[in-house]
């Protein structure tokens, strides 16, 4: 007798759409705005790229802390996760901050927040692109 509790298999079209949505979400994370650009949402794509890019440039220019994987405590690890949210822009922030972080002044402290916010904002945008690709209203 067939197992009636098993969930029915998803139609191939839904499965393909889900895979595409994942790919769009990852693309949006790696390059801010790319997820929306792949769905031809040009305004959102450009604005995601510009706002995340501006936050990263300002944060690095103000010598904020760009966290690395070898953090000493939970806050360092959370900061690293937030910074990683910017995708490839994480590497841009590291290359722009040639003189290292300086959080002994308010500027550097603000810069740290700018960088973390850029990461979280990009994750939000990537999630938005993923949901839009799945067909949710966006």
């Amino acid at each position: 007798m067939a197992d009636e509790t098993a969930a029915p298999a998803a139609p191939p079209q839904d499965s393909r759409r889900e895979t595409m949505a994942y790919a769009i979400g990852v693309a949006g994370w790696l390059v801010p705005g790319l997820g929306h650009a792949l769905m031809k949402m040009w305004g959102r794509a450009v604005m995601c790229f510009l706002t995340v890019g501006m936050l990263v440039i300002l944060g690095a220019g103000m010598r904020g802390n760009v966290f690395s994987s070898g953090g000493d405590d939970a806050f360092d690890s959370l900061g690293y996760l937030a910074d990683l949210g910017t995708g490839t822009f994480y590497l841009v922030a590291r290359s722009l901050e040639a003189n290292g972080a300086d959080v002994s002044h308010a500027d550097g402290d603000y810069g740290t927040r700018f960088l973390a916010t850029a990461g979280v904002l990009n994750l939000l945008a990537a999630l938005h692109a993923y949901e839009a690709a799945r067909g949710r209203k966006a």
Binding site: G43, T51, S95, Y110
Partner: protein
């Protein structure tokens, strides 16, 4: 060696830039029509600044 880039911003300038950039991003992500986006950005920016300045003044008695 690359000397990197450097910005010197005051507290107010930092807050204004932060509020403006986040408001623009939220406006574009959460609204579709241009007029709705502009309204959302203006309202969000106003609230960011109001709450930021409000918290600043609320901390003033404890700052010294």
């Amino acid at each position: 060696m690359n000397a990197g880039i450097g910005f010197k911003l005051s507290h107010l300038q930092s807050m204004l830039l932060f509020a403006l950039l986040i408001s623009i991003a939220f406006g574009f992500l959460s609204r579709r029509r241009p007029i709705e986006r502009v309204k959302y950005i203006a309202w969000s920016l106003f609230l960011f600044l109001l709450i930021g300045v409000g918290i600043g003044w609320a901390m003033y008695p404890f700052s010294r």
